[in-house]
Symmetry: C2
Subunit: 339 residues, 2 copies
């Protein structure tokens, strides 16, 4: 069984400094294989880049994707007291039950993608502190949430997606983005599950107030996560870090997942090199956040559900890329004339 290998924030950030990187030799081998497959050079577009990238991370020139894992983390947010969501906070727990009973969108998407889904509710009865009043989490609370994510990763998985559920968490994600990249609340908030214009203005004001309250401590990305994040966001960070240690490529989901991941990218350069952006969400600031992360999304279908839904839909693209890369005939083996 996997066990957490950190018990303080310093220990966690030390792990980041020692993370493995892609295998350059295998990347070269995969690039050479791609060049002789029965298709014009580059004709599979991004599928070819994905296959080569994936091969490098897995350390295998012609791998398959056979065991995708999907993790959904749920948390509650004290900041909902500020009236930032169109839905009441009890919906977080109700949706966890819906996930467990197989009735949510992510259940159907994982079934189609052949991904094994588990749901992890993090202390739903104890929402994080309202970040306009104080730090969302204490350091022990943050460590506990990071550990939940870290321990949830199955080391035998060969692709990971992380999703979230948490009424109020687009406000938390917007605050994280404003803290990491600058700008005002209004630059990073969106309609979330569907707030109206007044709700949107309220979210912007709440974000700006949170940023102002916490001040200089926000220069440290892991403190951004602690002060403005939520348990489910921290669990995503833990899971992405653990996946890196296990050389499991990750597909990021939407705005909230990407905001959580952004704290890791800011904490350690290249920390998201093993991650693809599964999609760009309709949540207004996601496209801007992906640009900050240097990630080009695989899908753009106007989705804004969270739960890992956009990432789950992108699993098939990665699976297809590797199926082509690893199973196609070569010009020589098929007796096809080259160009």
């Amino acid at each position: 069984m996997p066990t957490t290998v950190f018990s303080t924030l310093d220990e966690f950030t030390n792990i980041l400094a020692g993370m493995p990187n892609t295998n350059a030799k295998v990347t070269s081998e995969a690039t050479a294989r791609d060049a002789v497959l029965t298709k014009p050079p580059g004709a599979l577009g991004r599928l070819e880049d994905i296959a080569i990238w994936y091969a490098g991370w897995r350390g295998e020139a012609a791998p398959q994707v056979t065991a995708p894992q999907a993790l959904v983390f749920a948390g509650n947010h004290g900041v909902v007291a500020q009236g930032v969501s169109a839905f009441p906070a009890e919906v977080t727990a109700q949706m966890v039950m819906n996930f467990e009973q197989g009735g949510a969108a992510i259940n159907q998407l994982c079934a189609v993608a052949g991904a094994k889904l588990t749901v992890h509710a993090l202390d739903l009865d104890s929402p994080t502190q309202d970040f306009t009043v104080g730090a969302a989490m204490t350091e022990p609370e943050l460590i506990s949430a990071l550990a939940t994510g870290w321990n949830a990763v199955d080391s035998t998985a060969d692709l990971l997606i992380t999703g979230e559920m948490g009424i109020g968490n687009t406000t938390s994600a917007a605050a994280i983005c404003a803290a990491l990249y600058g700008g005002e609340g209004e630059d990073w908030v969106g309609r979330g599950t569907g707030v109206d214009d007044a709700g949107l203005a309220q979210k912007a004001e709440v974000v700006s107030r949170g940023i102002a309250l916490h001040g200089d401590i926000l220069a440290e990305p892991m403190q951004v996560l602690r002060c403005l994040g939520g348990r489910e966001l921290a669990a995503i960070v833990g899971a992405i870090a653990r996946a890196r240690m296990e050389r499991i490529p990750v597909i990021l989901d939407g705005f909230i997942c990407s905001a959580a991941a952004a704290t890791l990218a800011s904490a350690h350069d290249g920390a998201l090199d093993h991650c693809l952006a599964g999609h760009v969400s309709a949540e207004a600031a996601h496209i801007r956040l992906l640009a900050e992360l240097g990630k080009q999304p695989l899908l753009s279908l106007g989705m804004r559900l969270g739960e890992g839904s956009g990432a789950a839909l992108a699993i098939n693209i990665v699976k297809s890329a590797l199926a082509c890369h690893s199973n196609m005939a070569t010009f020589d083996s098929a007796g096809v004339s080259g160009g």
Copy 2:
């Protein structure tokens, strides 16, 4: 067994005039179902539109996609004598063998998507006439190719993709677009399997010459297909028309497939209402062609292979849309509070 129900071009166009339409009552039922599923309204973006659209065509408010069919048609083109391709014409037959042996990209993509693939080679030893010299096909040749496509559709399929293989066929597709929508050859040609700048200029000149040769007969869309098309393009037209008769939704592939389909759209208004655009190809004019067709692509991954590859990759999106639509819990059934 399906049998062709036309033996002349007039009979074929008469069929188009009597094609079935989407079921408005079922579309309403599907829209109502979508509104009560456990997600914020519209949060699944285009997946919701796809599900409702698909339900209307299938005449069932909560259907599944369980039997996708993939058809690849192959043909040879006399216009290759004009030096318009980076690959020699014998590659068409070599790739048909590769499809039959399971070594091509489309084989892998269909395997991942769970689609049943069949390959139909159309008289590869008798290329169509060079369209800069005369009409590509006689009317009996066109009817025969349309019938091949028509008869290839499995009436028990619940989703269809059509692909093609034919050295020289991006030139044929560009000529079709110029004939249907105007413009010069240079407005519609692209690099195909990979021609250089000189090859690109040659393709443009060949297209313009073809358009000039055939003149006024090109006012009739089915004559555009006959004079400038190819057997595999005509087979695609036949298959798309048959799918409409059987109420089987279709995912269009790239530039060549879309150009073939465009002749149907020009021949009969709304003839592609049962079709989605699977992707936008890297072939330069595809995005312009999709705009003419009023279709927004599901994927944009820089692919330009043909074979049905982009459409095959999009099958999973349609399947996922219907899995969500038909299998998700409702707010009431899951006990989740509405917004």
